[in-house]
């Protein structure tokens, strides 16, 4: 019945993907709809067939980015290890991932700005944060059960603090690449897990 068979959802993703790459490289404001159309290999008007306006485009691109990251997070956990080991290896895996998406980082910041201005789909990012925190909290609880982790900690808060560190680290690393992420991760892991105090307060 339809005269032209086009997988609209697929096409939408393609366009948003092309846009995301450009946004990451040059920034939202510097990228014109013409640029996006050219990168996607379509006409300018066609972009508007799939996205009402430029803002919808950045939302679409962001969704794609988040879903990629969600996949990476899931892949990072190795369930064959002990809880603490799993947390450690997951953290290193995430550091690895983030180190390689530097190009996307600009786009990520860009979207944070949108959120900061009250536009943007905040819930989407909150969900990702929540999920990451839950995963960490889960490992910490498993660690308590396995007598690897102190039982007097508030796992939710500790997980939140832990997750925050990861984003802070990538941020600092973007600004100041020394010491490397690996070094920082090791130092953090050591201090966080072992504590820096000479003695435990009893």
């Amino acid at each position: 019945m339809a005269p032209k068979i086009v997988d609209r959802e697929m096409r939408r993703m393609e366009i948003a993907g092309a846009a995301g790459v450009l946004f990451g490289k040059y920034g939202f404001d510097k990228v014109t709809i013409d640029d996006v159309a050219e990168a996607a290999g379509i006409g300018k008007g066609t972009v508007y067939e799939y996205f009402k306006n430029k803002e919808e485009l950045i939302h679409g691109a962001f969704e794609i980015m988040l879903s990629h990251m969600g996949t990476e997070i899931e892949k990072s956990v190795d369930l064959t290890l002990t809880p603490l080991e799993a947390l450690k290896s997951s953290t290193y895996a995430m550091v690895d991932v983030l180190e390689h998406v530097g190009e996307q980082y600009g786009f990520f910041l860009e979207y944070m700005l949108l959120l900061n201005r009250g536009k943007g789909n905040l819930a989407l990012l909150q969900n990702m944060f929540q999920e990451y925190r839950s995963m960490i909290a889960g490992l910490l609880e498993a660690g308590i059960d396995a007598h690897q982790v102190r039982s007097d900690i508030d796992t939710a808060s500790v997980a939140a603090a832990f997750a925050a560190w990861l984003d802070g680290a990538i941020f600092h690393w973007m600004i100041l690449p020394t010491p490397g992420m690996k070094t920082m991760a090791t130092a953090f892991w050591d201090a966080f897990v072992q504590g820096v105090a000479l003695k435990r307060e009893e």
Copy 2:
């Protein structure tokens, strides 16, 4: 030396300050030179007497912001305390400061984008990071000397990781205000100082 020069520098600061507030509230691209001029109580053309173009304006505004933060950092350290106590109180003080500059956060992100695109005065921010790290590293070393802190840590790397955490925390808190900064800071500090492991690895 001549009073004119001082006046000129003062006026420059005023303009950049007004610009900074606007940039923080509405974003660099949304703020027009007209807006800045009006906020500074001068004519549009006059802005160009003090700043070559709009980009110089954002650099000026960022410098002011950083110098404010530098002042806050310095004020946050209480030298009458023991090293670890000083680090703790400084951290809480910084959390306090950051919690109250949320409005500026958009502008901060904005400038990060500039840096990410290769524009912007990267060194300025790097210096601030370095100074903050040095301060922390100094406290850690004093802590070692005072037998409060394990002597086997790499103070520079740990300081870097510590500083990163602070920025990650404010970032996460902007996105997901639960649990509050205070709770996260407490959880982090506890883990950092005490470690989360049930036992120290020997």
Copy 3:
């Protein structure tokens, strides 16, 4: 002859009719081909199967409008009355009609503009004017024969002036609804007819 042709013509009218309503309500430029297609319950491309372009569409819509008006004009004349009574009742009938097509008035103006720019089917409208004038002139001549109307008038010119009044009245009424069409028509009729009548009505 072939039923297909009839169907085609019917469909053409449907589309033009739908377009006319929209043009009247929102104006030619504000109405998109998509709007017309939707209103006609067909696909956008199908409109082009029946009309070469958007301009043809407005011509088609105008033709329909004119043919409606032509019908109304014909219906307005009651041949059982004396010539002057027929002219009077016809005028009141037309006033009635026009008062109720206010919605179409915008479209009418729109088409006048097309004509003014040298586009548009001028002859069509001229014919309608001519026919209306002829009808009035005919009644005036019958009036002369019936000794109801002064024989020294130029019936053609008087008919033209009379017809013009009707359009002027509706126009003024659109802009300034006071006094109502009825009041104006009565005043006009009184002034106009008392002048052309052979004898004053006492």
Copy 4:
């Protein structure tokens, strides 16, 4: 104090005037802001210094047109004549004026459309209509006092009908130039005056 002395009101009029001419010739939608700027001998952006958007421009142009017409109306009345003679000469003068502003007629229609769509400054045009009606009503009343005009007419309604006629005539003349305005005016005047005059002219 102001660095550049420009009579803003004067400039505004110039621009609106240039725009009005173009609107009349080619129609509102066909005229681009670039066209207006070029015709006014200024840059595109400058138009926006004086008019918020294209719509404001048409309002400005219309105001100028109306004020021109108002002037013409005032000039058309010769107070040295008897009331009826004054009305007659004024009517012929208006016919003369209108015959020569045919070029503006398209623009006039255009604005009528704006009014029809609920935009546009309706009151402006209503005032002009009112004033014209008042002038005519005044002459009619003077005519009654001078025993030139029947005292049993409703001067306000007759004046409204009279004014409407003028606009209808110009409209019909635009569409169908035969018979000429003069001929139609004569026919109308003859019918009108013979009807309202206290006595028939012999």
